[in-house]
Structures are given as C-alpha cells and as structure tokens.
C-alpha cells in the first residue's frame, strides 16, 4: 500500500514540478513566502500566507505600510512595501504605489527635511538613494509583470522627472508602448526623451517624423515644436521638412 503510494509519488512529483513551472509561466505562483515574510507576519501569519490567506496577508502588510507612511517612517515603510510586493507580486498597484512612496514621497521628504539632516549634501544623497529604491521596485515589478505597460511608463517618468536619465526614460517609454493597454502618449514621450540625449537627435527626429505622418491625432503642440527645433538643429533640407506646409 505504502509502496504503491510512493510509486505513484515518484511518477507524480516531476509532473507536479512541471505543472508548477507552467503556472509560473502564466503568472501564478510567483510569490515568495520566505524568512522575510515570516519576520514580518509572525509564525501564524506565515502559516496563513502559506495556506490560502496569502493575498489577505499581503493586504495586511499593505495596510501596515500605510501606517508607516502616515508616520513618515521611511525605513519601515520600505520593509513593508518589500514584503507586501513579495507576497503578491502580480499586484501592479503594489509595485506602482511602492515606487511612488519611495522615489517621490520619501525622496522629497528627506530632501527638504533639515531638522533630521542639516548637511545638504547628505540630504541629496539620501534623496538619490530613495530614487534608486523606487527604481528597484519598478524593475522587480516589471520582472513579475513583464506585460504591464503601466510599470514601464512609471519607470519612464521616474528617469525623466527624478533621475534625469533621458536615454533610459526613452527606452522605458518605448517598452511601455509595446505592451497591451499602453497609453497613446508613451510613444511620443519616448521620442521626446530621446531628443534630449546628445547624439541621438537624428534617431529622435526619425521617430517624431513617423509619428507626425501617422496623422493629426499625434500632432500635439510639443511634437510640432520639437520637430521644428530638430529640423533646424539637424539642418534638414527645406523640401524634406515635415513641418513645411508645402510638403505632403
């Protein structure tokens, strides 16, 4: 009897493993319930997370994160955000909010908080650190949700507005544009950012032109202005300029 069960086990275990891999490929079973979770949730919470209450435990950690946010305890906030996203890595909102709390809320707060850190250089460093933490959240979120347009868009915004890395910003927007459900403007943003990268003007110009030729829905004022600027900068011949009303 026992041997029969063991024999069945020998057959089923590889199948189980295979099935698990397949589920992972479809976006399931990606949560990491590990010692970190156990430290955050305690023994009971850990068991609950393992056996059917994982999403609830993630929500619980999320609420705890909310409390740390209100008390502006950034280090604690990061820990909770980290655990919550580990438990529910398919929740895009978690990643988005986590990065926002770090790269924007926390970064801005430490930058202006003279009472805690009088040295400005150190304050700037702390700010940059929080930018990187936020970036880390987005990058991991993208790993777990590779098809999500929103996370790439956030990443683009972060590089553009906070980290002043226009090349990466452009690449992120471009990635976002390729995902289902992407916003209409991210392709334009990719081109706008590319134009800010020294040496990439020609490439940026090609992209903007392509967008322009797609039709009036792409011809927003920023695009038109930028197109004109680049045509001048790159000295595009008059008869090839798209901004020239005589050209079709």
């Amino acid at each position: 009897m026992l041997f029969g069960l063991l024999a069945f086990g020998v057959l089923k275990t590889p199948a189980e493993h295979h099935l698990l891999e397949e589920e992972r490929a479809c976006g399931f079973q990606l949560a990491q319930v590990n010692n970190n979770t156990r430290a955050q949730l305690g023994q009971m919470g850990f068991i609950a997370a393992l056996s059917g209450f994982r999403a609830v435990m993630a929500d619980f950690l999320w609420i705890q994160a909310g409390n740390s946010f209100e008390s502006t305890d950034w280090a604690r906030l990061e820990v909770f955000l980290h655990s919550a996203t580990q438990l529910q890595p398919r929740a895009v909102v978690f990643w988005e909010m986590a990065h926002y709390h770090m790269a924007y809320d926390a970064a801005i707060a430490v930058k202006g908080d003279e009472s805690r850190q009088p040295n400005q250089a150190l304050r700037r460093r702390a700010e940059r650190e929080f930018h990187q933490i936020g970036e880390g959240f987005l990058l991991r979120g993208i790993q777990f949700n590779p098809d999500n347009a929103r996370l790439y868009e956030c990443l683009g915004n972060l590089y553009k507005n906070r980290m002043q890395d226009h090349l990466k910003a452009s690449q992120s927007y471009a990635c976002s544009a390729q995902k289902p459900g992407a916003m209409g403007y991210v392709r334009r943003f990719a081109a706008f950012e590319l134009a800010k990268v020294p040496g990439k003007e020609q490439e940026a110009y090609e992209q903007l032109k392509e967008l322009y030729l797609e039709g009036p829905q792409q011809r927003v004022p920023t695009l038109l202005t930028l197109l004109k600027e680049l045509e001048q900068k790159l000295a595009v011949p008059e008869d090839l300029r798209v901004s020239n009303p005589q050209n079709p």
């Binding site: 976006g27 393992l50 059917g52 209450f53 929500d59």
Partner: protein, 278 residues
Amino acid sequence: MALAHNTFLELVRQKVFYFLLLFALLIIGSSLFTVEFSFQSPLQVLKDVGLGAMSIFSWLLGLLCTAMLLPKDIEDRTLYTILAKPVPRFEYITGKLLGVFMMIGLSILLMSVLFAAVLGIREQQELAEIARITPVEELEAALAAVRASAFQWNLLAGVALIFLKAALCSTLTLLLSTFATSSVFTVLISVVVYLIGHVQGIAREYWLRPGEVSLLVKGGIAVMALLFPDLQLFNVVDEIAIGTKIPLDLFLQVTGFGLLYTVVYFMVAQVVFATKEL
C-alpha cells in the same frame, strides 16, 4: 444514492456546519469594513478576504466533517447496521465521500453567492461614488476600472479549484480515518499534511539545491514530497482576483491533477477499508 444523501443530511443537521458557515459569513461581512484602510482598489481587500476565507473554510469544513464520519459510525455501531444490509463496503465509503463533497459544494456555493452579492453591492456603491467625484471626460475609464476590479467570470475557475482542493483534502482525511483510531488524531494529521502540502514547492527546490542539506533531511523531504500532493498548485484564485488570466489548458491540467490525486487516495482508502476489522 441513499448513503450520500444521508451523509449530506447528517452534515447539514450538525451544528458545526452552521457554526462554520456563520463564521464564513462573518468574515465576508467584516471585509466590508476593512476596505477603508487600504490604498488600493477598494474592492481588492474584499475579494482577497472573501476568497481566502472561502478557501480555508471549505477545507476546514471538509476536514472536520470527514474526520468524524467514520469514527462516529464505528463508535455508535451504526456501521454494523449499515453493512449488515446488502451494502458493499465500497459503496459505503463512496456514499460517505459523495455526501461530504455535496456538503462542501453547497457551502462553497452559498459562500460564493453571498460573496458575489456583497461584491456587487460594494461595486455599485463604488460606481456611484466615482460618478459623483470624477470629471465627465475620465468617467468612462474610471467606471470601467471599477468594473474590472469587481467580479469576473474568471474567478469561477479559481473557486472551482478551491472546491477541488477541499475535496482532495477530504479524501485524504477519509483515507487517514480508515486506519486511524481516533478522530482527533485524524484531524491533527490532516492539518499537518495540509501544511506539508503547501510547502512542497519550497521543499522541492530545497531538495534540488546541491550540498547544504544533510542526507537524512533530504530523505525526509523526499518521502513527504512523494506521499503528499503539492496543494499550492490549486492556489491560483488570488492571482485571478487581481486580473491574471488562467488559460483553459492550464486549468484543465490542474483539475486533472486534482482529480487523479483524489481518485488515488480514494482507491487506497477503499482497499484499507475493505480489509478493516470492524
């Protein structure tokens, strides 16, 4: 089938059933209040709590009911009266198990209906609230977002797997109770197996990792992994609840796996029971 029907009746008339159901209702009801604390989609916590509770309760209900069925029949000697009728033992076990399945099915159905109703009500409230505060041009998108975060038919696949997991665990409990001597023992072992079943995936990875682990531990893990199913495979409803789609063939594979396991445990239980001294 008279036995299945009777087992079902027995369970329905047990107080424990109402108690657990009440508890489930309480949890789902209380999740109405937790939504206010979260920073995320207001319906998400409700969904998470509701589905988590459904998963745990269906399992627990199946476990407790199954664990007491056989010992109770043996202790009260009703088993003698039943088996003294022209009823094969095979049929007796089958009837008991089907009765438990019916009961789990009914409670999941009740929980789902209640859950869907609460979710629906909350959704309407949310929609009304959004319609009030959102500017007209963004309204359509905002409303669609709320609708998407509410009930999706996809959830039913997750709920079906919750049922399957509970059914599988009940069958295992039945198997345990065919050779266990007391229902307390059966319940304890079942709970342990349930936990083992949920760390199987982690254990397998641990096992595959070279070095680090002693041979003895490795052997222990291997036996556990061979004897018990990986129950984590059935926990997909959380992901479905945040919008991950489950492809049909994956769903069918998991279902097939669950059914296969249920059948194997069922057959072992049959063999053990057929040769049991009463």
